[in-house]
Amino acid sequence: MTIRPNNSDTDESFANSSRSKPDNTLQYMINLQKDLKTAADSLRLELLGIHKEIEEIKATVSVLKDSIEYLCDRKALEKPGDDTVGAITSGLDLLQKAPQHLRRTLQVMVQLNSATASQVARRTGKSRSLESDYLNQLERLGILSRKDDTGKHVIFVHERTRSEEADEENEENERNNDEDSTREKIQQMQQTARDARQ
């Protein structure tokens, strides 16, 4: 920040007044007072500008904070496991994501969606303890997860029945509505920030 008088003649008068200091102290004091007043006015204007900028930054930060909180809340409301939907989308995934010894178990899980080790063992003809080990290995690979309430392993592959088709359609509509409301909310916040700036 540079403090300078708003009148370009002032520099010269200041220099002249300095030169005339020994001769006319009063004139010198008057000129000095004028210069200081001008500098103070300039400083005040500059501080007002800074204050306004700070207010704008505060309003923007507030909008960002609200947006982040809002998006975090939405994320927290999503069903657990949504991130892993699509872990196995095709036969190629079966081949690429699981080692050979786990593929039969994984095929059963793709068919059943959720199952205990005993249920898988019945389908594969292997022992329950071996299937339990295989399910845990698949869990460590991030392909399966465990349902907290039942202890069943779950794979996120969706079988769409007619009722689920309707549910899915509703979910899609809700999602679209949610996205619209999010967009609206963010637009409102941006407008608030713009208003605050003005």
């Binding site: 699509g86 989308t89 095709s90 036969g91 079966l94 081949l95 095929q107 068919q111 079988e159 029945t161």
Partner: protein, 264 residues
């Protein structure tokens, strides 16, 4: 139940023809055999079998209420052998649905293919033969994933060795099945080979070619089937070995079947 699939890098190698003829040979041996047409992008089995099926595998993949029983067509009465087939749709719209399938639909398709496999097994089928789409189409890989043996069909006179090698290296190395090469329509110097038996000069050439394939692909050539004019003349109008069970071509298919069953 054991599953044998026929696959290739390029189209037009004779997968459907070989699949249908092998299924027929196995059924003639008394094995309850199903042939599944998973070549959704170029379905040809309906033409070969001379029928038009209203409910197809395409429908099964999209409709959760359908089961294997709804799509299987029996040839027991017609040919007096335990042969069944499930066809891919030739309806352009349904073919488009397969091409446009999104991630979720692909998941459902895989699940329904696995369910169909189990259903066939529970219904006492001994063998299922799968005819796949060429290349690395997702639905082909679904078929390969459930197979116990895979036959990579190469047409000896025209195949892309680098493309095929690349597919073998990247895809076949992941498969759990026993993988073989079938050389189809091998053109001999003396055409046609008498009674399907190679002359000594031709045999040397065929063996040399088989060795090249083995060295390049690191896969065994299970059989080299000569190009028979009679087979070419009949084309895709019928299942050749049903009509001509004594023809050398049918004998080759029988040998192929025996070799595959031995390896399973």
């Amino acid at each position: 139940m054991k599953i044998i699939s026929f696959h290739s890098y390029k189209g037009g190698t004779g997968k459907t023809h070989l699949s249908a003829n092998l299924a027929t040979i196995l059924a003639r041996k008394g094995f309850k055999t199903a042939i599944l047409d998973l070549d959704f992008r170029g379905p040809n089995l309906q033409t070969l079998c001379g029928i038009e099926s209203e409910v197809t595998i395409n429908d099964l993949l999209f409709d959760p209420d359908l089961t294997g029983q709804d799509i299987l067509v029996s040839f027991e009465d017609q040919y007096k052998i335990p042969l069944f087939a499930a066809f891919a749709s030739t309806d352009f719209r349904k073919m488009g649905d397969i091409v446009r399938a999104d991630k979720k639909q692909r998941q459902r398709s895989l699940k329904r293919i696995l369910r169909l496999r189990d259903e066939l097994s529970e219904n006492g089928f001994d063998y299922t033969i799968i005819d796949t789409s060429p290349g690395v189409q997702m639905e082909s890989i679904d078929g390969l994933v459930i197979s116990d043996a895979t036959c990579l069909v190469l047409k000896a006179d025209d195949f892309d060795i680098s493309g095929t090698k690349s597919m073998v290296t990247q895809l076949y190395s992941l498969l759990d099945s026993k993988n073989y090469v079938v050389l189809n329509r091998v053109v001999a110097e003396t055409c046609p080979p008498e009674e399907g038996v190679w002359s000594s000069a031709d045999l040397k050439l065929v063996e040399k070619f088989e060795k090249t394939i083995k060295d390049e692909m690191r896969m065994d050539v299970i059989t080299s089937i000569p190009c028979f004019c009679e087979v070419a003349r009949e084309g895709s109008r019928n299942i050749f070995s049903l009509k001509h069970p004594e023809h050398p071509f049918s004998q080759y298919i029988e040998k192929l079947g025996n070799a595959l069953l031995k390896g399973l």
